[in-house]
Amino acid sequence: MWIYEKKLEYPIRVSYTNPRLAKEVITQYGGPDGELAASLRYLTQRYTMPIPQAKAVLTDIGTEELAHMEIVAALVYNLIKHASVDEIKAAGLDDYYADHDRALYFVNAAGAPWVASYIQSKGDPIADLHEDLAAEQKARATYEYLIQLSDDPDVTDALRFLREREVVHFQRFGETLNLVHEWMDSKNVF
């Protein structure tokens, strides 16, 4: 159960219509290391965590990733909502336009739709937490590539915020991994 806050976690704006940048940033909406994959991964894995602290961390971070999905959606929509069909064609976004107009859809930068095989839910808390640590590093790397590709300082500002959150999440998952190891050792389960 969630309480909905009618504002973004981080305020965003874009400098100008930019369908080329939207085509790239959308990968953090529906790509393999994007925010939909992150939120669903953590909110699904939480059930088989053996200790309450681990369930709480996965629920908290999974919730925050939903907020990041909303930020990425707002960025992409603001970059394309006023784009003309000619601008969309020039940016190579015409394939997307043919199916979705200027609506949001879960695809990576190359247009491949989101699939559940981007994530795993293994039932083994050590394996799942290692996936989560890796997921944070992959998301951080993606944000760095997007910052390199961005020619809009306002978009770059939001990407920097989202990237830093991945660094913090990595630390929290690492601390959670330590707690789960300690719990397993105390149970003599190896």
């Binding site: 640590l133 989202l162 830093e164 959150r165 660094v167 630390q171 690492g174 601390e175 190891h181 050792d185």
Partner: protein, 68 residues
């Protein structure tokens, strides 16, 4: 208890002498560690929002060109 301390492990199956096999690193083999964060000073909420964290020790700003 005391003979396990050098490995940093809470695993009772890891004896102290394993220390020599971890090449000076604390901890047992075949597992990953992230050092736990210790609470120290924090930035203001406004500064934390701008930077993405209120914890100075977790702030890792990125500048393009550092890696290319």
């Amino acid at each position: 208890m005391a003979d396990r301390e050098p490995t940093g492990s809470t695993n009772p199956n890891v004896p102290g002498p394993l220390r020599g096999q971890t090449m000076g690193y604390l901890g047992e083999l075949a597992r990953a560690y992230v050092p736990p964060q210790m609470f120290s000073r924090v930035w203001s909420p406004a500064e934390g929002l701008a930077k993405g964290t209120i914890f100075p020790e977790l702030y890792r700003p990125y500048e393009p060109g550092e890696r290319a």
